[in-house]
């Protein structure tokens, strides 16, 4: 199949230019001001739209195996494609957890049936129980490059230290959900003025910040690499930035919801706004946006967490935490980066190139089963591309989702910017916003 993207704004790693992009047999074969359209090619006019490397999500809960009522690998991949993603990292907090080679292989095999590249994050500890190390080396041999007990963090500092010491020579990165559960106190929203007024038990910012601090010190001690998942407070981001400046091997992500929603959203007791770490203060939101623009954040990662509708209809404190992210993330990142003042280079950095680097999905990484992601949009690359139109105004709707679940907090929210085309592995997966 030959696809020609006509006259789009091609967004490279440091600059942009208006050009045509030709895709043939799974690769980008030509990027030039004007190209001759080969016979039989599908020509798509993308004038005014941004053409860049397909998005990469570092943080997707696909729920398979065990949670198929909420999402499957297949439905999650569809949601991702519509959101402009060409690759994603499946989180290991399935039932049972992805803590062994058989389960990891199962998810990789199922993922291979989808048009996208589905990478897997393995569990750090068996059953994600925080006690005994999972077979990290065996999973690394299957191509697993990220390990996490996400859902919760590794609570025991000694266990985390061992895991880091074990991971370092294997060249894999541990990703941490930073929340000290003893301080988080089984709370259901950010601790502060709002939670105190609403009578909801709070999860203090400190629960997150203490673990960020602890893990930075453990990185200093062990020389290993840590990726900080979904940072939600101003201080967390500041600590990670400082550690990075010191030369420690730390990376971090923020979730779209932490960039666009604050704790005030919980005032109506709608459990769709319940997430861990919780939605924080307006000041935190502003600080995260600032850090994102300043390049202190490696990735916007969705923490796409599908839940069956009846579970989100429970009382706020009884409902599970988590919200959908894949289908609205691009528009939300665009908003967080300033909408009309959004720098397209920065946008593709946090949506594609940064996360591809963290997940080690780039062309020069030691890929085992996947295509290359987060490229420069130049001839010879694997054709994982997305076209984003920053001019489209649309409205998020709970009833128009590819995901099996409906738990988006953005129902009826006006959005700006939408993915019109997703080309994954050279295949046209999404055309004019529609799945093919």
């Amino acid at each position: 199949m030959i696809i020609v993207l006509r006259r789009g704004l091609v967004v490279g790693p440091s600059s942009t230019r208006v050009a045509d992009v030709v895709v043939r047999d799974g690769r980008v074969v030509d990027v030039a001001s004007t190209v001759e359209v080969p016979a039989g090619a599908l020509e798509i006019d993308v004038e005014g739209r941004w053409v860049g490397p397909g998005f990469v999500d570092l943080h997707t809960h696909l729920r398979e195996p065990g949670g198929e009522a909420a999402e499957t690998i297949e439905s999650g991949a569809r949601a991702a494609a519509v959101g402009g993603y060409c690759a994603l990292v499946a989180m290991p907090n399935t039932e049972p957890a992805l803590d062994n080679a058989a389960l990891v292989s199962y998810v990789l095999d199922q993922g291979a049936q989808t048009p996208l590249d589905i990478a897997v994050a393995g569990a750090i500890t068996l059953g994600r129980e925080g006690r005994h190390l999972a077979p990290i080396a065996e999973l690394a041999a299957l191509g697993v490059r990220l390990f996490t007990d996400d859902g919760t963090g590794v609570q025991d500092a000694a266990v985390m230290r061992r895991a880091l010491e074990y991971a370092r020579p294997l060249g894999v990165r541990l990703a941490q959900h930073c929340e000290d559960e003893s301080l988080a106190n089984a709370g259901s929203m950010n601790e502060g003025a709002v939670s105190s007024r609403l009578g909801l038990v709070g999860r203090p910012a400190l629960a997150e910040e203490l673990m960020v601090r602890r893990d930075i010190e453990l990185v200093r001690l062990t020389g290993a690499a840590v990726h900080f998942l979904h940072l939600s407070t101003a201080r967390s981001v500041a600590m990670v930035s400082a550690a990075r400046r010191e030369g420690l091997d730390v990376t971090c992500e923020v979730a779209p919801h932490h960039l666009t929603l604050d704790e005030g959203s919980c005032a109506g007791f709608d459990a769709h706004f319940k997430v861990h770490p919780p939605l924080r203060t307006t000041k935190d939101v502003a600080a995260l946006r600032h850090a994102l623009r300043e390049g202190e954040i490696d990735a916007v990662a969705t923490d796409h967490a599908p839940h069956a509708p009846e579970l989100k209809d429970r009382a706020f404190d009884e409902a599970p935490a988590g919200m959908l992210g894949l289908e609205h993330a691009a528009a939300l990142a665009y908003e967080a980066l300033g909408a009309s003042s959004c720098d397209p280079v920065r946008f593709f950095e946090v949506m594609s190139r940064g996360p591809a680097r963290v997940a080690r999905l780039r062309a020069d990484d030691d890929r085992v089963r996947h295509g290359a992601h987060g490229g420069a949009v130049s001839a010879g690359e694997d054709a994982n591309l997305v076209v984003f139109d920053p001019r489209i105004e649309w409205t998020a709707s709970r009833d128009q989702l590819q995901s099996r679940a409906r738990n988006t907090p953005y129902d009826a929210r006006p959005l700006r910017g939408r993915v019109t085309t997703t080309i994954a592995g050279g295949r046209l997966v999404v055309h004019e916003g529609q799945l093919q």
């Binding site: 601790e191 502060g192 003025a193 709002v194 939670s195 105190s196 007024r197 609403l198 009578g199 909801l200 038990v201 709070g202 203090p204 005030g264 005032a267 109506g268 007791f269 709608d270 307006t282 009846e310 209809d313 429970r314 009382a315 706020f316 404190d317 009884e318």
Partner: protein
């Protein structure tokens, strides 16, 4: 917090035709309307035939996920004295609780044709959620988690006004907010976990009282930002200041080392003991929402003193709840939109 300020700016000036989910957003006018209406129902409750046909043919469902015989009986009595039909579901002890979502349960009851639902739930915000599921039904919050217990706050304010009005030989409804202005109200005990405290603070502050709270450090809310209260570190100091002392119930499991070292130590620092009662200001009023842990937050002898208005609080529960049901069910929300 911006939203807190917003909540107070967007005040409701009446509960007519509206849900009663929280006292946080009610203006003094809205609260006085309930108190004044309740005063009329006090007269009805003194008749031989304690019943008026105001809600004849209306159906009030009482849905209690958390057992509370006192509050349930009080609401159901109120509904019956207004001639409403009462559908009583003690969910706490039925099979409904197991597995069925709040949305499904309320949909089932709604299908029977109801005008209002009185909801008690162990989770904060449950009443807000139900109000979203059945917008055509009036929802009365009878206590949700740690959040609010609006009718308790209203009946506490009503009781205080009643006592003060009697002393002044006035009719409460003729006094407006006058008796509350500058009144010193001290709320003591487990503020953090108390929906009664949240409703009392809102009611008394809206009516113009000065409100202070006294509690062990672990039993204060994580943040008091936006609360119209001052914290008193020394309960004894607060006692000498207070015209009204609202004693809160301490759940026994909180007094066994998790929040305070022991019940005995709580009594030592924050219990209303006989010794402390001697230091009450002349004319001070002592309240307790019940049921009391005699010997823990309040000494048995103090609870039986004339200054303690605990029984009055209980009997005022019925007229207050009649007023709330009457206003909420019969009122036209269009007339009262602020």
């Amino acid at each position: 917090m911006d939203r807190d300020t917003d909540a107070r700016v967007n005040q409701d000036h009446s509960i007519r035709g509206r849900n009663l989910l929280t006292l946080d957003t009610l203006s003094d006018r809205a609260i006085l309307e309930v108190l004044d209406t309740a005063e009329l129902f006090v007269e009805v409750n003194q008749r031989t035939i304690k019943k008026v046909p105001a809600l004849k043919g209306r159906v009030v469902a009482s849905l209690f996920y958390e057992e509370s015989t006192r509050t349930r009986l009080s609401f159901e009595t109120a509904a019956k004295r207004l001639s409403a039909d009462v559908l009583s579901l003690a969910v706490a002890s039925s099979s409904v609780k197991k597995g069925e979502s709040l949305r499904d349960t309320i949909a089932t009851i709604d299908a029977l044709g109801i005008d209002a639902v009185v909801l008690r739930h162990q989770s904060s915000g449950a009443a807000h959620q139900v109000a979203g599921y059945v917008p055509h039904v009036r929802v009365i919050n009878a206590g949700d988690g740690l959040h609010q217990h609006p009718t308790q706050g209203l009946l506490d304010a009503f009781t205080v006004r009643q006592v003060l009005a009697e002393r002044a030989h006035a009719r409460g409804s003729e006094t407006g907010t006058e008796l509350f202005e500058g009144l010193h109200v001290l709320i003591v005990g487990d503020i953090r976990h108390s929906r009664v405290a949240r409703s009392d603070v809102a009611a008394f502050a809206a009516l113009g009282a000065e409100v202070r709270v006294a509690a062990p450090g672990t039993l204060l809310p994580a943040s008091l930002e936006g609360w119209p209260v001052e914290v008193v570190d020394d309960f004894d100091e607060g006692l000498q200041w207070a015209d009204v002392v609202g004693v809160l119930r301490l759940q026994r499991e909180r007094g066994t080392g998790s929040f305070v070292p022991s019940l005995a130590e709580f009594t030592r620092t924050h219990g209303l003991t006989v010794e402390r009662a001697r230091r009450l200001r002349p004319g001070a009023i002592v309240m307790h929402p019940g049921p009391m842990n005699r010997g823990v937050e309040i000494d048995s002898a103090v609870a039986d003193l004339p200054v303690a208005v605990v029984e009055r609080q209980v009997s005022n529960g019925v007229p207050i709840r009649m007023a709330v049901l009457y206003l909420s069910i019969t009122g036209d929300p269009k007339e009262t939109r602020s």
